[in-house]
Structure formats: C-alpha cells, structure tokens
C-alpha cells in the first residue's frame, strides 16, 4: 500500500507524541525551565523597571526561546542515543518527511508549553490588555524557531558537545526573528493594531518561508550517514 507524503509526516509526529506521552521527559523539563526563567527575570527586573511593559515582550520571548532550546536538544538526542535515527533513515520515507515530521513534533511541544506559560506569564507579570493578535504572532515566531531549530538540532547531535552547540549555532541565526517577534509583541502591549506593524509581520513570514525552505533542502545532507 502506498502511503501519502502527509501520512508519513504524521506517522513520525505520532511516534514522537507517543514517546513523549510515555516519558513526559521533554514537556516537563521545558515547562519547569520556562517557569524558572520567568521567576528569575521577575526578580532580576522588578526593582529596576517602573513599567513592566518595557521588559515583558523580551522576557516572554527569552522564556520561549530558552524552553524551546531544551526541547530541540532532546528532539534528536533521543533519536541518536537509542539508535532510532538509523531506524528512521532506513524507513521507506523521504528525508524531507523526516524533517517535517520532527519539525511538526517540535512545533507541537513548544506550542503546548507556550499555551500554558502564556496565561501564567500574564498572571505573574500583569501586563495591561491581552490582544488576541498575539496568538498568530507567537505561532509565526515559533514556526520559524522550530523550523531552523530542527535543522540545527540534527546538526548539533552529530557534534561532540551537542547540548552546548545547539544554542551557539541557533541563537545568532534567529536574531532577526527575535527582533521582529519582540517588536510586534511590544507594539500589541502598547495597544497598537497589528496592521500598523505589517512590515514586521512580513519579516516574520519571510524568515519562516526562507528558513523552512533552506532547512528542507539541506536536511538530507545533515542526517546522511
């Protein structure tokens, strides 16, 4: 029976979800780490900043990024350590299906963590109004981060200092993504409509499209044995 490309991708996502549901390793570490980052930032900034709006967008995105790094690190280390990567590569699926499968899995785990962290963040930091427009912005930012992050996770896992290499490789690349995401988040907190920040949205979308395409094209060379 011939299985469609989408089915192959979903099969890999399914595998990752089951593995995660059994161990809850990745989710719990990402979630607790995100809370810790928020707590530390809270104490680091509280006494010095009169208006929380000035630091809230940055704190939010740093939290997402740091928690995301933990998840991305586990993503391929789990595959590599238990010899699963060889199994995946031997499976009769296109390499790009493996990339999109892993990428969607990472996107899903990051999104779940973000969905829980966001209300907690609001309660603890008490920024002014919550704009629903923030949701698509967070999604776009997370897609870009998980997209290029999955590629770099696969690169880092083949190095000697793998947990250390991922942030060193990934953070400089996602600088423009962070700038755009923090800018839009800050604008929304100040009550600006999303339409006024169209150029930043374009940058986010452009980053996502360019780096998803490049990751898709180069992933094959990264996992090749």
């Amino acid at each position: 029976m011939r299985i469609g490309f989408l089915h192959k991708i979903l099969a890999i996502v399914h595998k990752d979800i089951i593995a995660e549901l059994r161990t809850k390793e990745m989710f719990s570490s990402m979630f607790v780490f995100a809370l810790l980052v928020i707590v530390i930032f809270n104490f680091a900034f509280e006494l010095r900043v009169a208006n929380i709006r000035q630091v809230a967008p940055g704190v939010l995105w740093v939290t997402f990024t740091f928690a995301g790094i933990l998840g991305l690190n586990r993503s391929f280390i789990l595959e590599k350590d238990r010899g699963c990567l060889e199994g995946l590569l031997l499976a009769p699926v296109d390499r790009s299906a493996i990339y999109f499968g892993k990428m969607l899995g990472n996107l899903l785990f990051m999104s779940v963590v973000e969905a829980i962290v966001l209300p907690i963040f609001w309660v603890l930091f008490n920024p002014p109004l919550f704009s629903p427009a923030l949701i698509p912005v967070i999604v776009l930012g997370t897609v870009g981060f998980a997209g290029v992050g999955t590629l770099f996770s696969a690169i880092a896992v083949h190095t000697r200092a793998r947990e250390v290499m991922l942030p060193i490789l990934l953070f400089p690349i996602v600088v423009p993504l962070m700038i755009a995401a923090v800018k839009i988040t800050g604008g929304l907190l100040d009550g600006q409509p999303l339409a006024e920040m169209r150029h930043w949205l374009n940058l986010l979308v452009g980053f996502d499209v360019i780096f998803l395409a490049v990751s898709y094209m180069t992933f094959d060379y990264v996992v090749e044995e």
Binding site: V148, L151, I155, H158, T159, R160, A161, M165, I168, L169, F171, P172, I173, V175, P176, I179, A180, K183, H199, W200, L203, G206, F207, I210, F211, V214, S215, T218, Y221, V222, E224
Partner: protein
C-alpha cells in the same frame, strides 16, 4: 606544488606586502584630514581607510564560503570544503578588525563605543558570532565527510541570514549617522581621499587573495603529510 607556482605566489606575497605599506602611507599621510571634523574625531576618521576595506573583505570571504558550501553539497569534492573553511578563517580575522576599529572610531565621533541600533554594527556582530560558531562546529565533529557537510549547511544558512539581520535592525532602531561612503558629498569632493580609499580597498582584497592562497597551500601540505603518515612513513 611545483617550483614555478611557488615562485609566482612568492612574487604575489611581495606585491601584497608592498601594497599594504603604500596603503598605510596613503591612509595616514597622503589623504588630507577631513575638513568638517576637529580634534580626535579628525584623526579617528583615518581608521575609515582600513575599516571599510576590512568590512568588504569580510563580506567577500563569507560570500566565497557560501558559494563553496553550495558547490560542496551539490558536486562534492574536498577542495570546496577546504576553500569554504579557509575563507571563513580569513573572513573572521577581517571581521574582528571591523568590530575593533569601529568602536575606536565611534568613541571620539559619536561619544560611545557601540550603538546597537545601527544596522551595520549589529549585522557585523551577528556575522562574527555565526562564523565563530562555524569554526567551533568544525572542531567538534570527528568524521571528515560529515564535518564538511554540516559546515556547508551552516555556511549557507549563515550567509542567508545576513541580509535579514540587516533589514531587521534597520527597522528596529533610529540609526545614528553611520557615514555613507558613496553618497552625496563624502569622497566625491576629495580626489586624494578617493584615491587613498580605492587603493586601500584594492590592497586589502589582494591581501585576502594572498592569505587564501597560502591557507589553501598549507591545507594541501597538511593533507599530504596525513596521507604519507597513513602509508606508513614515519617522520
């Protein structure tokens, strides 16, 4: 490498060394002081003759890496990988020169060492981090073919990121007045400044070529030694 090409690179080295000395003379003596500046800012302005060519060579070097990385993934062949990382090493040296000469100039002129909202400064800083990570990546991968493939992917992704970083920082902050060399005013009014600048640009590009040739030669010799060792020769 045969004797004739060895002699040729020797001559090229000599020309490059001479060109750098002339460049120093042109930048420090021949070029007139900037008429619109005073004091330390006027002296610091001369950094420009080395600062801008360094930035140009840095971008050129990383562009060469970008092209060589694509060629490696597309066609394969060890020579492309050697070209890619040799160019990164040289590019990183020149980028380091940019991020040190820049603040030296900025302090007397702007009053601060560094301004994050300037797209050129921030882009070069991010560029430096990306290619430093490139060399770190190479140092942490054992297998030679895999090292080349992973580095090539970073060589491509990293270079594509550069214009996006530049655009993002340009929108992000109100830029301070980073001098624009080829605009209205500027160099057009002083032929001697223009001569000095263009000569420095040429001299630095030649220096890049010379360093690249030497680096490729060195890598070739290292590879040859490895090959001989593996065949049982003891040194």
């Amino acid at each position: 490498m045969n004797t004739r090409s060895f002699a040729a690179t020797g001559v090229l080295n000599g020309i490059a060394a001479l060109a750098m000395l002339v460049a120093l003379y042109l930048a420090l003596v021949y070029a007139p002081p900037a008429a619109n500046l005073v004091g330390a800012a006027q002296i610091a302005q001369r950094i420009f003759y080395f600062h801008v060519p360094s930035a140009w060579v840095g971008f050129l070097a990383f562009f060469v890496t970008f092209v060589a990385s694509i060629a490696y993934l597309w066609k394969g062949g060890r020579q492309w990988d050697v070209l890619a990382f040799s160019s990164v090493e040289i590019g990183l040296v020149f980028t380091s020169m940019v991020v040190t000469t820049g603040p030296l100039w900025a302090k007397p002129t702007w009053g601060v060492w560094w301004v994050w909202s300037d797209p050129k400064l921030s882009t070069v800083a991010v560029l430096w981090l990306i290619y430093f990570a490139y060399l770190m990546l190479r140092n942490t991968v054992e297998d030679e073919a895999r090292r080349a493939r992973l580095a090539a992917v970073l060589g491509i992704v990293g270079f594509l990121d550069v214009p996006i970083v530049f655009g993002a920082v340009r929108w992000w902050g109100q830029s301070v007045a980073h001098p624009i060399v080829f605009g209205t005013g500027g160099l057009r009014h002083s032929p001697r400044m223009l001569t000095a600048f263009l000569f420095c640009l040429g001299a630095f590009t030649l220096l890049y070529v010379v360093l690249l040739i030497q680096r490729l030669r060195l890598e070739g010799m290292r590879h040859e030694v490895e090959r001989l060792k593996s065949q049982g020769f003891t040194l």
